[in-house]
């Protein structure tokens, strides 16, 4: 990808094994500052593990992670967040017994000591992601679409420079997906770099400027969404060996 913009996140040779399984295998990638990019790949490819490594939730076996020019591999998660990189969870992790406002305020407190300030910021963030009329509801009373937005809102409330979004659209219906796509774009337009993991190809094609494809822990392709969706290796990774050839044959037949 173009070298014009300095990378905000630079991952080199990152590696993590669970027992004999290489969940992340020698991954190198650079996310340009201000970009909106995506990480895709079949189930179990190691995408969430890569996020966990980068955000300090697990320590890599090998490799380096540089965030805004600073080495952060091995830094604990809360310090990574303080440095300006916040992740969301694929399996939503709300503060279940707390209200939506209280949930978002926890994120807002990172850079705001007073409760009044944190709550004011939380309200503003809630408005941005369309949760303004749910503030007093308990988090565990929200439907899945609401919880996904809450995940996003809480992370956004920490004023991150880089957001790692792990499948914020999984489990949403097409109209809910159509609603959240412009929200994500507007967050990026507000100056936050976004790297998202997504299975919903409509969203990836719609949003991402650049896509990395992970399969069995390895990066197998990268490029624009258009290029990726026609890449033979990528199609095989998703649909199995020989799939690309079969699709080609079908297209020729038509």
């Amino acid at each position: 990808m173009s070298d014009a913009v300095p990378p905000i996140l630079e991952v080199r040779g990152l590696q993590k094994s669970f027992g004999g399984l290489r969940a992340v295998d020698d991954v190198t990638l650079a996310v340009p500052g201000g970009s909106l990019t995506a990480l895709i790949g079949p189930n179990g490819a190691g995408k969430t593990t890569l996020f966990a490594l980068v955000s300090g939730f697990i320590t890599p076996d090998a490799g380096t992670v540089a965030f805004a020019g600073r080495q952060i591999a091995g830094l604990p998660a809360h310090l990574v967040c303080r440095a300006g990189m916040t992740r969301t969870f694929q399996i939503v992790q709300p503060f279940a017994g707390q209200t939506v406002l209280e949930n978002i305020a926890v994120g807002a407190h990172l850079h705001r000591v007073r409760q009044a300030d944190a709550q004011a910021h939380a309200r503003a963030v809630a408005a941005r992601v369309g949760l303004a009329d749910q503030l007093d509801k308990r988090a565990d009373s929200l439907p899945i679409a609401g919880r996904k937005r809450l995940e996003l809102a809480r992370a956004l409330a920490t004023d991150p420079r880089l957001l790692l979004l792990d499948e914020v659209m999984a489990g949403l219906n097409p109209s809910e997906i159509a609603e959240i796509i412009p929200i994500i774009r507007s967050i990026r337009d507000g100056g936050v770099t976004i790297l998202l993991i997504e299975h919903v190809m409509q969203a990836v094609v719609n949003l991402a400027e650049h896509v990395w494809v992970l399969s069995y822990g390895r990066l197998i392709a990268e490029g624009s969404p258009a290029a990726i969706t026609t890449d033979a290796q990528v199609i095989e990774a998703y649909l199995g060996h020989g799939a690309a050839a079969r699709m080609q044959a079908m297209q020729v037949a038509q």
């Binding site: 969301t88 969870f89 279940a96 707390q98 409760q115």
Partner: protein, 329 residues
């Protein structure tokens, strides 16, 4: 301050003002003692509430902090002739230090849930054995505080002296709980209770927050120990470090409502009334009161997990009363 914080502060002030006026209307020594003991139990419950209710770390050994406070007071007073009011400060610091030590050992290694509960229980037991062993803590005999009546010696001739002392301790506890509801530290602590991973992802230093909570909780619990020693002028290892105090502290918080400002007070008064009623009906029977506590705990956890406060709130909701946003009394 947010409007909700102001409202809740006004409520606390009004409550304390009413409690301050109460002795003027009470003629009977018996009921004054009843109030003192209920407030004293509430202060223990509030100490437990800071760590267990707000922080979700269920200690079964809070007697260790209580005992450290009680023995700090007794030893300093009896062996070194230090004024009991001064020992209050020393006990506060030592209770906090004990909390910090236990917290550093347990939370550093990520002990949670029943493991944390068991380790705190074991710590209390270790303290009990130590107090039983050493000569300067009076070993198994315990320690007696010399009779020296006078407010300057924390020995009030009139019971109202004890009443206002314990009311002040309860007031401080209410302010701590109010602060937890309306501060960043409190928001972080509650977040840690609800979901540690999510808290961590939002920049919360989980270890430090827990450490802060157990330090504060230990310090508060130790002041309860000092009050006990001054009120009863005697302490021994089972009284100080036995399971009774630990159970009392967690029970009143759970019965009243964990993580709420007034939960420990409501729990303490409920428990005091229950105790009083059973004593009236069938006479004194300490073993029975323990059994009753156990039963109460089971009933609460099964039917009212949010305590009496939570039960009242959901009852009010069912009766169609408007639910206030962020209601926190």
């Amino acid at each position: 301050m947010t409007p909700s914080a102001v409202r809740s502060l006004l409520f606390i002030v009004a409550f304390l003002a009413a409690m301050a006026l109460l002795p003027a209307f009470i003629r009977s020594e018996f009921w004054l003692t009843f109030l003192i003991l209920a407030l004293y139990t509430a202060s223990l419950g509030q100490a437990w509430n800071v760590l267990g209710g707000f922080g979700g770390q269920y200690s079964f050994g809070h007697a260790m902090f209580f005992g450290v406070g009680a023995y700090a007071a007794a030893v300093l007073q009896v062996r070194f002739g230090i004024n009991p009011w001064v020992t209050l400060g020393a006990a506060f610091v030592l209770g906090g230090a004990t909390g910090a030590m236990v917290g550093a050992l347990t939370f550093r290694y990520g002990l949670k849930g029943s493991y944390f509960a068991l380790v705190t229980l074991a710590f209390a037991e270790v303290f009990r054995v130590l107090a039983n062993t050493f000569e300067f803590t009076g070993a198994g005999v315990g320690m007696m505080i010399k009779l020296a009546p006078g407010a300057a010696n924390f020995q009030f001739v009139a019971k109202t002296g004890f009443y206002f002392t314990i009311l002040s301790i309860v007031a401080a506890g209410l302010m701590v709980a109010w602060w937890l509801k309306h501060s960043r530290f409190g928001a972080w602590l509650t977040a840690v209770r609800e979901n540690e991973d999510a808290a961590r992802a939002l920049g919360v230093d989980v270890f430090r927050v827990k450490l802060g909570a157990i330090t504060l909780s230990g310090a508060m619990m130790a002041t309860g120990g000092v009050f006990y020693v001054q009120m009863f002028q005697y302490i021994d290892p089972p009284l100080a470090f036995g399971a009774g105090i630990s159970v009392e502290a967690l029970l009143v918080a759970i019965v009243g409502g964990m993580g709420s400002i007034f939960g420990p007070l409501i729990g303490a008064f409920t428990l005091a009334l229950v105790n009083h009623t059973t004593t009236e009906l069938i006479g004194r029977a300490p073993a029975l009161s323990m059994a009753l506590y156990g039963l109460l705990l089971i009933v609460m956890v099964t039917f009212l997990p949010n305590g009496l406060i939570g039960g009242l709130a959901s009852l009010a909701r069912r009766l169609g009363l408007r639910q206030r946003s962020g209601g926190d009394e």
